[in-house]
């Protein structure tokens, strides 16, 4: 009731083209004449009154289940729109279905075309909404998800293969390579990401050093903080932080770009013009990532070491000279190499996942959002898994 009143207030403020009846006005009056039911409509049968009218009609249908003839007099109805016309039709249908005779009289000529139109409506063929069983639905969802994981893995392997083919083709005729596109992507992915990557890795370096100092000090092992910062940053954290940021920043952008191009049939258009979308769109993007991520990793690692050194000096009282000489002892070239070797592989993973998800976008805006989320989540997950695999690999070759 409350929202109905609110609704009437809205419409009374509309200053509509006709007087909308007050809430209490009856829209349909009933009288029994022998075994004949006479219904006379009144007022405006418009959208705003549809709620009340429907209730009235439904109660009438229930009240007279076995009446022989029904006469509906519409001469007092001042206005009628599709809502009213449909409810009139529903009334007629309900009575005729139960075997009674229903007759509509007095309808204004203007509205005849509308009621004719509504009479043609067939409701039988509304496809039923599918309501599966809850358990079946749950099992179904699990199965579908597992299948989807398998499919997306296959799609990634496919994409990797297609990228290699495209690369080989480009290498055989280097003039066809989209250098401009790659430079543009490099600008987006690497150059514009530098400030935020520097800032975040710097802060992470500071935090690690501070935490290390705080805890190591209890054992009088302050100076080993330098070892910890050096190894952690160069081997693991630098590349991981950068990859997670790139996945969130550029991977999602790739997916959204490719996805909306897919939605608007731009990718199909490319294909029909004889271009390979992988070569034109995806290869430059993935190569830009493969070039950009190692650069960002290098810059990020340096910023983190700088942050660590700064905290050691200001908070831990370790002079920069000592920090540097300690760092020289703690790390070797291969510590740095381990981080840098991982970077391009992780970039490749991010690029492949982003492209696969982008091309998986279907027609709707919702699916674009879903695939973009999936792209970021999957690439971060895979980057971490790869990191674990690399850790095992480097341990076994003693690096």
């Amino acid at each position: 009731m409350v929202n109905r009143i609110a609704c009437f207030q809205v419409f009374s403020s509309l200053g509509g083209r006709s007087a909308v009846g007050s809430v209490s006005e009856t829209l349909l009056e009933e009288t029994m004449q022998g075994d004949r039911l006479v219904l006379s409509g009144r007022g405006a049968w418009l959208a705003v009154a549809a709620h009340d009218l429907e209730a009235t009609i439904e109660s009438l249908i229930k009240k007279y289940p076995s009446v022989k003839t029904v006469a509906i007099d519409m001469s007092q109805v001042e206005r009628l729109d599709t809502f009213g016309a449909w409810l009139l039709e529903r009334l007629v249908r309900a009575f005729t279905r139960d075997g009674s005779k229903a007759e509509v009289t007095g309808l204004k000529d203007d509205y005849r075309a509308l009621t004719e139109e509504v009479r043609k409506v067939k409701l039988e063929d509304i496809p039923p909404r599918t309501h599966g069983q809850t358990l079946a639905y749950a099992l179904n969802a699990i199965g579908e998800n597992i299948a989807a994981i398998g499919q997306s893995f296959a799609a990634m392997v496919n994409m990797l293969g297609a990228l290699v083919v495209a690369l080989v083709r480009v290498l055989s005729r280097p003039r066809s390579f989209r250098l401009t596109s790659m430079i543009h992507q490099l600008d987006n992915v690497a150059w514009r990401a530098v400030p935020i990557v520097l800032l975040i890795t710097f802060l992470i370096g500071c935090i690690i050093a501070q935490q290390g100092l705080f805890h190591f000090r209890k054992f009088g092992a302050d100076v080993y903080v330098v070892d910890m910062v050096g190894i952690l940053v160069l081997r693991e954290l630098g590349v991981l932080i950068v990859c997670i940021m790139v996945a969130g920043r550029s991977g999602s952008a790739y997916t959204a770009e490719l996805g909306s191009m897919k939605m608007r049939e731009e990718i199909d258009a490319l294909r029909t013009m004889g271009f390979d979308p992988i070569e034109v769109l995806i290869l430059p993007r993935v190569l830009a990532l493969i070039i950009g991520v190692p650069i960002l990793t290098f810059l990020g690692s340096m910023a983190a070491l700088y942050g660590g050194g700064l905290v050691c000096w200001l908070y831990g009282g370790i002079d920069p000279d000592i920090f540097l000489s300690r760092l020289k002892e703690a790390i070797a070239l291969n510590t740095f190499q381990v981080g840098m070797i991982k970077a391009p592989f992780m970039a490749l993973v991010i690029g492949v996942v982003a492209s696969v998800e982008g091309l998986a976008v279907k027609g709707s805006a919702e699916s674009l959002g879903r695939q973009t989320t999936a792209s970021v989540v999957e690439s971060i997950f895979l980057v971490i898994v790869m990191d674990g695999i690399f850790a095992i690999f480097f341990a076994s070759i003693g690096m």
Binding site: N3, V10, G15, A47, H51, T82, L114, G363, E366
Partner: protein
């Protein structure tokens, strides 16, 4: 203006005066005036890029104007409060050039969306009405559960029209409703618009390039060129005009007059 004199006392539902709209230094509409009368079907024509869609969007309030006033149902849209504006918006329906169906809702949900927002109706009535509207625009209930991306171009147009009509509006704005439809479908569409106009007392503002629509359903035609409405009036006036653009548009090779030079309309 020409259109004012030919239509004596009829009520003006849309009154645009001195509209200026531009993008950067590119002035698209330059002091455009236009009247739309209650209950008429106005065909709005002009070359590609003349600014027809821009004028339509300006009236609806999607594009800001640099100067001029727009009154819809006598409400000055530039000065109206939010509540007044909402009230006016409830009384019009819009069919965009690209359909603009909500891609993540099914056809059924697309049709019910505006109704649910403004009226408090039972689910059953919502479903019934959605199907009724679909059938009115020449589709059937089998498309109910499809998503917009699964529809053909013509089906998209029809569903978009059904959505524009969902609340039984008093004015509908149609941006090229028949483009992309087969001639039979386009003809049906015209008949449908004429029927709806008759039954619901609709005022129709229709941007179109379809000369058949202009001939068969439009009561009046307004022509936009060089940022101004250069002519407005019934088809006969257009056919008689000696303005070079109008001549080539209405009496060119592709027009009916072009096909049948002795046609009665040509003088």
């Amino acid at each position: 203006m020409a259109q004012a004199s030919s239509n004596g006392q009829r009520e003006v539902v849309i009154e645009a005066r001195g509209i200026v709209v531009g993008f950067g230094s590119h002035i698209v509409l330059d002091h455009t005036d236009l009247d739309v009368y209650r209950g008429e079907i106005l065909g709005f024509v002009g070359g590609s890029g003349a600014g027809k869609s821009v004028l339509m969007r300006t009236i609806i309030g999607l594009i800001p104007k640099r100067a001029g006033t727009i009154k819809v149902f006598g409400v000055n849209m530039g000065e109206a409060s939010d509540v007044e504006r909402r009230a006016v918006e409830r009384r019009w329906g819009v069919l965009f050039q690209q359909g603009a169906l909500f891609s993540s809702l099914t056809v059924m949900e697309n049709l019910q969306f505006p109704v649910r927002e403004y009226l408090d109706l039972s689910q059953r009535l919502l479903d019934d009405l959605a199907v009724a509207k679909l059938e009115m625009v020449g589709l059937d209930a089998s498309v109910c559960n499809k998503f917009p991306s699964e529809l053909s171009g013509g089906m998209t147009k029809r569903v978009a029209l059904a959505r524009a009509l969902a609340l039984d509006p008093e004015i509908v704005f149609l941006d090229e409703p028949t483009s992309g439809l087969d001639p039979i479908g386009a003809g049906d569409f015209d008949t449908l618009i004429a029927t709806l106009q008759r039954t619901l007392g609709l005022t129709v503002f229709m941007v179109t390039h379809d000369l058949d629509s202009l001939h068969t359903v439009c009561d009046r035609i307004a022509v936009l060129a060089e940022g101004k409405v250069i002519a407005a009036g019934p088809m006969d006036t257009m056919l008689k005009s000696e303005h070079p653009w109008l001549k080539s548009y209405f009496r060119g090779k592709r027009s009916r007059a072009g096909y049948q030079p002795q046609g009665k309309a040509v003088t």
